[in-house]
């Protein structure tokens, strides 16, 4: 057992809770300090999801992944900032203030795992855990210039992850190198009987940069309307590099992209409206005012405890699930989701992986995005992987206007190894 001391200078506001000491032990992650996103339960360490409503909540148990990283010898150094309950693309929707992008402190780090990304990008920690519901690992990885991987749905246990949208989200690794992503994947994956959606598919792999003969599909839609041409050009350069390393580049189409964003937002808000119902002031937060009626007390608590974006999504989801609208919204969204899945299945009969930009633009200025809809639109390239449950990685591929750009690689279900190999090949190609 060794004790890791941890610098307390959090200049980017990456952390909600910082621990000054962390115990480390023997194992694959021996001696490594790791940051955990604040929506992952840590026993005895405040877990807020960046929400006032959970301020002071000390989980009595560790999330499955927290147990795993501890067992592998890592020391937990703190809990990172995020958009409240994961609802956002900038880490501005936090009750604990926005996180700044280490690449440019006037910019957002992306979200919702912005604290984890900033902590890694700034060198405060070597690796961090994020969660990805619609791009929440990959977006901040792209904006901050680090690597972030969303595993195949079911490959990493969600037990202990405070649910935002259960059917979409996965816990995943964030680090500065693909090798560290791979190392963390070895620790995080495996069957967990306490998560009924868990799949017994452990990751035991050493990244292989040889991609000769690999077929890489590039959907037109990933370079369509709304994608900044400067970002597109950086990403095309990256794809050309993969071609030079022996891969075949095949352009293709993904018509279901037209419905992906709508399907995503209906699904995630619906699930969120239900998941967040438990925060009613009876069990979390300060004791309820017993002079009030139960309904008054609970309305007040939710009104004061949730931020604007969270309330917006709860209302959207509540509406989408209401009788008379369920068929129009939730049921349609599931049908659209199936189309996205089918598109990927079809494409993966022809190509081995799919590549494109992670985000349509570089990091926004802090406070720039005020209109929720335009914010939602920026998730268009990341949500398809969540809708289909496939693995997707974002790897740094250069800069535009001096800001990091991410290349996204998506693969078939349970082929996380393959997308990590492609990312590794790219990383090796760039550094050579």
């Amino acid at each position: 057992m060794a004790t890791l001391t941890f610098p307390q200078d959090d200049r980017y506001n990456a952390f909600i809770t910082m621990l000054d000491k962390a115990e480390t032990g023997p194992g694959k992650l021996s001696g490594i300090g790791i940051a955990i996103k604040d929506n992952i339960s840590t026993r005895g360490i405040q877990t807020t999801c960046a929400s006032r409503i959970l301020e002071g909540y000390l989980p009595p148990y560790d999330a499955h992944v927290v147990k795993l990283v501890k067992k592998a010898g890592a020391g937990i150094v703190g809990k990172t900032n995020m958009d409240e309950f994961g609802m956002g693309t900038t880490t501005e929707n936090s009750a604990f203030g926005p996180t700044k992008n280490p690449a440019d402190t006037s910019r957002v780090p992306g979200g919702s795992s912005g604290g984890s990304a900033a902590a890694v990008a700034s060198g405060m920690v070597r690796m961090a855990l994020g969660t990805d519901t619609g791009g929440s690992i990959r977006c901040p990885a792209a904006f901050c210039g680090i690597v972030g991987h969303k595993p195949t749905y079911g490959r990493v246990s969600r037990y202990g992850l405070v649910a935002y949208a259960n059917s979409l989200e996965q816990i995943g690794p964030m680090a500065r190198t693909v090798s560290d992503i791979s190392l963390l994947m070895e620790v995080l994956t495996g069957y967990d009987p306490s998560d009924s959606t868990s799949v017994n598919c452990p990751y035991a792999h050493i990244p292989d940069p040889d991609i000769r003969g690999l077929k890489i599909g590039v959907p037109e839609e990933y370079f369509g309307e709304g994608v900044d041409p400067r970002v597109a050009s950086v990403v095309w350069d990256g794809i050309s590099l993969l071609e030079r390393k022996g891969a075949d580049i095949i352009t293709c189409r993904m018509p279901s992209m037209a419905y992906a964003l709508a399907a995503y937002y209906v699904t995630c808000t619906s699930e969120a409206s239900s998941n967040l119902a438990r925060f009613d002031g009876v069990r979390y937060g300060p004791p309820a005012d017993t002079r009030q009626t139960w309904h008054e007390s609970f309305q007040e608590r939710r009104r004061d405890g949730f931020g604007t974006e969270v309330k917006r999504r709860i209302m959207l989801g509540t509406f989408a699930l209401s009788s008379g609208y369920y068929g129009k919204y939730y049921a349609k969204a599931q049908a659209a989701r199936q189309q996205v899945r089918n598109d990927f299945l079809r494409l993966f009969r022809e190509v081995d992986v799919i590549a494109g930009p992670t985000m349509p633009t570089v990091a926004f200025r802090i406070g720039e995005k005020t209109d929720p809809l335009s914010m939602y639109l920026s998730d268009i390239l990341t949500v398809p992987a969540n809708l289909a449950g496939i693995p997707a990685i974002s790897v740094p591929c250069g800069t535009s206007e001096g800001l990091p750009v991410g290349l996204q690689i998506m693969g078939p279900h349970f082929r996380d190894e393959r997308v990590i190999d492609v990312a590794y090949a790219f990383e090796q190609g760039v550094s050579r």
Binding site: P59, S270, A277, V282
Partner: protein, 511 residues
């Protein structure tokens, strides 16, 4: 579309109900008697323990916890579905029922909605007009919410306490078609259902709060519900919620029949209404509060995979169920049809009977079905508090003629009272001795001065000259009166046959 429903003011009064019928459908929630909860490993044996002691992150619904299905609970539910002759659905699914209530720790209940575990079954019962089939619409599994506790009573408590020990207990919900035609029939259905569930070993009716019933009830023109009756006006109906006992169901429904009939007599339109049964007052009251009109926003539970359990159902071998056992009691023990029905109507009673029957099946049947159950019912005691050992001993004394039937009943009452008061009792033999109920053995031939029966008979004859004279005048009833007096004098210890013999001997001689 018939016009009558539109204009409430013109609703005609109903004065004669002879061509109407009561229509009842039930929704029954039973706790499945598993060792652990539906979605976690917490023990279900919470009733004797303090509040919030049988809880964990999962059944408390703590952020980040996930449910995992208790296989045993699903097996139990499948047993029920099979015993109720249901079709097990190829793939069923859990769903979330969203509503806010302090006892609902997640803000939603995990239940089943449009894809229940099993559908389309039936249960045969002894209805008002003989054997009857009540169709089962569906059977599904869900979790019980927690429990609200009001110290000092709901009206006086200043605050509400919440106990989550019950949260996550597996429930089975059984929904019937509206095939039941009277409150009595509803009770009979529930009794049969309870017996079936207990025979299956999945339910313990003696656990407090293990059964809850919602009942839909209306009074409609005869045939309204059948196909040919369609188009006749719907007179409205009530859904009575929150009935938590077997007796309560019949009471609540009987109250509703009277209430609805009175309303129809006055020409009131009933509409569709949710009512609550107030057990203490035996009435139903309207629940008009807005919270009752719920929008549950059901959607599939994303944390659980769909259930594909047809194959499990195929492997289940059902135990002997009440109907089969009743048939066996008729042939194996020679029970009367009524006794066979009573004895098999409750698993504990049936098992008890079979443990004791060996002495004399027909005698034991009478004693258990008529005497014992009556005495238990009078004392509000369960048969599980009666030991087959001492009951067997008592019936042995009766069977051997050491105690008369009447004396036996006296012993039984005394022993049951002892159990009720102290939890245990003396042996029947000791009780017989203490109460001096041993049968008066004839000590000598008829006529002897020392015979206690003869002595008692002589005393009665001396005390009742009028009856003796009446008998001599040919009044047969006078003899029975004298027999009764002798029995009284011997405190029931004389064998009736002996008394008859002695009395007729003496009277015959004197007459």
């Amino acid at each position: 579309m018939t016009g009558t429903a539109d204009t409430a003011g013109q609703e005609s009064r109903v004065t004669d109900f002879s061509d109407d019928e009561v229509i009842i459908g039930l929704e029954i929630h039973c706790q499945l008697d598993t060792l652990t909860k539906l979605f976690c490993g917490c023990s279900t044996d919470y009733r004797d323990d303090g509040p919030n002691t049988h809880v964990c992150p999962i059944c408390l619904g703590l952020p980040g916890s996930l449910p995992r299905v208790n296989r045993k609970a699903i097996e139990y539910a499948l047993r029920v579905a099979k015993a109720l002759n249901c079709t097990i659905v190829e793939e069923s699914e859990f769903a979330r029922k969203n509503y806010f209530y302090p006892d609902l720790n997640k803000g939603f209940q995990i239940t089943q909605y449009d894809r229940p575990l099993a559908v389309k079954g039936y249960l045969d019962i002894e209805g008002d007009d003989g054997e009857k089939r009540v169709r089962i619409t569906r059977v599904h599994v869900e979790e019980d919410p927690g429990r609200l506790v009001h110290k000092g009573g709901a009206d006086r408590a200043k605050y509400t306490l919440v106990d989550y020990n019950r949260a996550g207990i597996p429930l089975i919900e059984i929904v019937t078609e509206p095939d039941i035609r009277s409150p009595k029939e509803a009770r009979k259905f529930l009794n049969k259902l309870r017996a079936t569930l207990e025979y299956l070993g999945v339910f313990d009716s003696e656990k407090e709060g293990s059964l809850r019933v919602d009942a839909n009830i209306s009074i409609q023109p005869r045939g309204w519900f059948d196909r040919e009756g369609k188009g006749k006006a719907d007179r409205g109906r009530a859904e009575v919620k929150n009935i938590s006992s077997y007796k309560g169901v019949e009471k609540a429904l009987t109250f509703e029949v009277t209430r609805q009939k009175n309303a129809l007599r006055r020409g009131q339109r009933l509409g569709t209404e949710t009512r609550h049964f107030v057990e203490t007052r035996g009435v139903t009251t309207s629940s008009r509060s807005k919270e009752m009109e719920q929008e549950y926003r059901y959607f599939p539970e994303p944390d659980l995979r769909p259930l594909r359990v047809c194959a499990w159902a195929d492997e289940i071998v059902l135990p002997e169920l009440p109907d089969a056992r009743r048939a066996r009691f008729l042939t194996q023990y020679g029970c009367s049809p009524i006794h066979a029905r009573t004895l098999t109507g409750d698993l504990r009673v049936a098992e008890f009977y079979e443990q004791v029957a060996g002495i004399d099946p027909v005698l034991v049947a009478t004693w258990v079905a008529d005497t014992l159950l009556g005495e238990l019912n009078y004392r509000d005691m369960s048969i599980s508090r009666v030991s087959p050992d001492w009951f067997r001993e008592l019936l042995f004394l009766v069977h051997k003629g050491n105690v008369t039937d009447k004396g036996g009943i006296e012993v039984l009452r005394s022993l049951l009272d002892q159990i009720r008061e102290s939890g245990s009792c003396e042996t029947p033999g000791a009780c017989v001795g203490r109460l001096g109920l041993r049968v008066l053995e004839r000590t000598a031939e008829t006529g002897s001065e020392d015979d206690p029966v003869v002595n008692a008979a002589r005393e009665v004859i001396a005390e009742q000259p009028q009856a003796v004279a009446d008998f001599a005048a040919g009044k047969k009833e006078a003899f029975n009166f004298l027999v009764g007096q002798v029995m009284k004098k011997t405190r029931g210890r004389a064998k009736p046959a002996d008394v008859n013999q002695v009395l007729s001997g003496i009277l015959g001689k004197e007459g």
